[in-house]
């Protein structure tokens, strides 16, 4: 395969534009993200292709498997283009009707369209579904449009034009300036200005430098990076290439979570395509600049998301952080100057180069520019991946885009920033997403996990959950984090088990302060955050657990009686029908009764009861 030149890129783009603008035929874009794969999108795709072949429609209609569409809760998802008709929860049995009615007859199948949970109306156009309507895709601009395994598709959407500009028309200093103007800050969580980071590394002396991509997305409830890698792997490679040019690096490594096999597979394909076409390797696009990328699979350690730990892990050691300075920009991987950027940060770079830093900075707030990708999950109607301008309020994110809380329950808190983050209660829902504004209410922007919790979530239990995570993932190097988080966890477990004592809250607070001020790395320093933020807003729940031995959310099993309140019982029998242990006796028009001998305390009855009668 000959190496591509800029002219080749332009020729490919012109030739393939009908494909990405859907002007030459009908396209069925079926989601091939992890979520939709799990709900059966591959068999839907096979059935579609088979049906199209039978009806001899293959010439006019093409099926394309895209990366993650983002609306994961509705999988398998398919969008029909042109027309932008959105279908959800497809199954193999729907295919014949879909082809007859929509593809041949031109009439969309109503029952397979999105149903707005509040108005109960069906919405056909993807752009009119509130989940999509309030978004501004930039890092996710190609999601659901291109085939992530096709280089031509990517080029048709301006792919590698940013790299061409950076390599052929700009000096490294100009690239760095443009990124500085964009105001882009690290999307992995810390929010360090990307341009500055590059500048430090570019000024460090050394023949060998590295560009690393942090794809070790470890925060629970976060799947932004997975989706970007699955939907648009070339965007990340192009971002790394531009970063390499800016700092003068010749080698790049993507540190990817081994739990993301599909993302790794698509990255491998993309790297092979880029090499074959001279977009990686020697003398890229005839610029004389050389750069290559390899993938390094992590082995499951949360702490490896910390930059110095990540580099140690690539060196084949236990992934434990080391004190800084020296910063990685001076001494990073193998003691060489290194830049480490997150997947989402890198996915923004090519467009900043193509459209200019000022374009990127045209949306956002004073200190947080551009857009941010969030992974919405938990107790919210529309679960999935969203990208919004900085400055959007949490309320818009959860109630407009997210469609509010299911089952008519009440919103309680939203957890931002993963284990290093915090919970934000209802009264701060008008906080805009902005690094500083979110920090002010006791959470952090973090990598973008947004976990919504309804009234049935116990905040003490949540604090315990996060502490269990952190304690387990503490690398053990420094004492405050290793021992301190263990002590915190012990106290929280005791409180949840109904063994809380007066003075526990004060002990939690004191320990937290010590851990915060004396741990070595960011993971340790932020580890008490889940405790501190729940204490700050939900102190009364801690007190109820400790002093009254009561769990207000009725989640802590040790504090529940497993009795039915006859006043509240509607005598419907729903609990009895769902009890997996046959422990509930009920007859028509009778209050149900739980046999405590048989009860396995699985909380099924509690989940099913609509009247809050299980105590």
């Amino acid at each position: 395969m000959p190496k591509l030149t800029v002219d080749d890129l332009k020729t490919i783009k012109a030739k393939h534009i009908p494909r990405t603008e859907f002007s030459d035929k009908t396209y069925l874009l079926i989601c091939g993200g992890t979520g939709c794969h799990a709900t059966g999108s591959i068999s839907v795709k096979d059935a579609l292709q088979k049906a199209l072949a039978e009806k001899q429609l293959e010439e006019k209609v093409r099926v394309i498997e895209t990366g993650c569409n983002g609306f994961c809760a509705m999988g398998p998802i398919m969008v029909v283009q042109p027309g932008n008709i959105f279908y959800q929860k497809l199954s193999v049995d729907d295919i014949d009707e879909l082809i007859e009615s929509h593809i041949i007859g031109g009439k969309p199948v109503q029952r397979l369209l999105y149903k707005e949970p509040r108005t109960k109306k069906r919405i056909a156009l993807q752009t009119e579904i509130p989940f999509f309507a309030n978004q501004m895709p930039r890092a996710l601009r190609n999601k659901g449009l291109i085939d992530p395994e096709s280089l031509e598709d990517y080029i048709a959407r301006d792919g590698y034009l940013g790299a061409a500009k950076a390599l052929l028309e700009m000096s490294p200093q100009q690239i760095i300036e443009e990124v500085k103007i964009s105001g882009l800050r690290g999307r992995g969580g810390a929010g360090f200005p990307t341009g500055l980071k590059w500048e430090f590394a570019s000024k460090s002396p050394g023949d060998i430098k590295y560009v690393l991509c942090n794809a070790d997305e470890g925060d629970p409830g976060a799947f932004m990076d997975r989706s970007i890698l699955e939907a648009d792997p070339h965007a990340v490679l192009e971002g790394m290439l531009i970063a390499a040019r800016a700092i003068g690096a010749s080698e790049g490594v993507i540190y990817a979570r081994t739990e993301y096999p599909l993302a790794i597979k698509r990255l491998e394909i993309a790297i092979a395509q880029a090499r074959e076409n001279g977009l990686l390797g020697k003398d890229i696009l005839g610029s004389g600049f050389s750069f290559d990328i390899s993938i390094y699979q992590g082995a499951g350690a949360f702490v490896c998301g910390e930059e110095t730990a990540l580099m140690r892990s690539i060196e084949g050691k236990r992934g434990m952080p080391r004190p800084r300075p020296p910063f990685p920009a001076q001494k990073g991987l193998w003691e060489k100057p290194t830049v480490l950027n997150n997947v989402e940060t890198l996915a923004n770079i090519a467009q900043i180069i193509v459209n200019g830093g000022a374009w990127y900075a045209s949306v956002g707030t004073e200190t947080s520019k551009g857009t941010k990708v969030f992974a919405l999950s938990g107790d919210v109607n529309n679960i999935g991946l969203v990208e919004v301008p900085m400055g959007t309020t949490l309320r818009t994110l959860i109630f407009d885009i997210g469609g509010g809380i299911p089952k008519k329950r009440k919103f309680k808190a939203v957890q931002l920033g993963g284990p290093s983050g915090g919970c934000v209660p209802e009264r701060y829902l008008d906080t805009p997403v902005d690094y500083e504004a979110i920090a002010k209410v006791g959470a952090i922007m973090g990598s973008g996990g947004v976990i919504v919790m309804d009234e049935k979530t116990c905040m003490v239990d949540m604090a315990r959950f996060f502490m269990e995570f952190i304690q387990d993932e503490s690398c053990g190097k420094c004492t405050p984090c290793r021992e301190g988080t263990r002590r915190l966890l012990e106290i929280l477990v005791r409180i949840c088990d109904g063994q809380g004592q007066p003075g526990d809250i004060e002990a939690l607070e004191e320990l937290s302060q010590v851990i915060r001020s004396s741990s070595l790395c960011g993971l340790g320093q932020t580890s008490p955050n889940p405790v501190l933020s729940t204490l700050r807003y939900f102190r009364d729940e801690f007190e109820a657990h400790i002093h009254e031995k009561r769990c207000p959310a009725k989640r802590c099993v040790a504090l529940l009686k497993f009795e039915i309140d006859p006043e509240l019982c509607a005598k419907c029998g729903l609990c009895a029908r769902n009890c997996p242990a046959d422990a509930i006796q009920w007859e028509k028009k009778q209050v149900a009764r739980i046999d405590k001998e048989k009860c396995i305390k699985c909380l099924t009855c509690y989940e099913k009861c609509r009247f809050g009668a299980i105590q």
Binding site: T34, G35, H37, A38, T39, F71, C72, A73, G75, E217, G218, D219, P220, G221, A222, F223, R226, T258, E259, Y260, Y296, Q297, G298, A299, G300, A301, F302, S313, I314, E315, G316, K317, R318, G319, W334, A375, S377, G378, D379, I383, G384, Q415, G418, G449, I451, M453, T457, F465, F466, F469, C475, N578, P580, I600, K601, C602, L603, T604, E607
Partner: protein, 164 residues
């Protein structure tokens, strides 16, 4: 036996040995490749017996303490044998909020297997894993290669009964 193998181990067949040797050969001179070697060897054998760790260390010119240190640090590596089916329960926040804890309790009590362990009949290994990033399907259980979304404590046993 027509070929010499480093040592006899009940869970490592001759075929596995030849794969292991290839993996070591391929990575012997690459700095930092030990994690890759351990991962690939685990794929071959199913887990990493301690004797194998010692052998890998010797072959890669690393101290046994270093290899054991790495194998015990990373969650991916297991030094215990696995059951016929591996159940992975996602303990990410979204799955937790949606009740994975109750699912875990149900599996533990129904099959007599504890988290991180294998049932006595070696039918199931039960693992709690970090967020799988499939939060749209929460709570999520992965059995072998199959992902099951929206599992609940009352449905989980029906699903697992399909894996004998």
């Amino acid at each position: 036996m027509n070929r010499s193998i480093p040592f006899q181990h009940p869970d490592i067949t001759d075929e596995m040995w030849s794969s292991i040797e290839q993996i070591i050969q391929k990575n012997r001179n690459k700095p930092g490749s030990i994690i890759t070697v351990l991962r690939e060897c685990q794929q071959v054998v199913g887990y990493l017996p301690v004797e194998l760790l010692d052998y890998i260390g010797k072959s890669m010119n690393l101290a046994p303490s270093e290899v054991y240190g790495i194998a015990s640090f990373y969650a991916l590596f297991s030094m215990k044998p696995k059951g016929r089916h591996t159940i992975k329960l996602c303990l990410g926040t979204a799955c937790y909020v949606k009740g994975i804890k109750e699912v875990m309790a149900r599996i533990e009590s129904s099959y007599g297997v504890k988290e991180g362990d294998t049932s006595e009949d070696r039918r199931f290994s039960l693992e709690a894993v970090r967020c799988l990033g499939a939060c749209g399907l929460a709570p999520v259980m992965v059995v072998n290669e199959d992902t099951h979304g929206g599992v609940s404590s009352d449905k989980v046993i029906d699903i697992l009964e399909r894996y004998q």
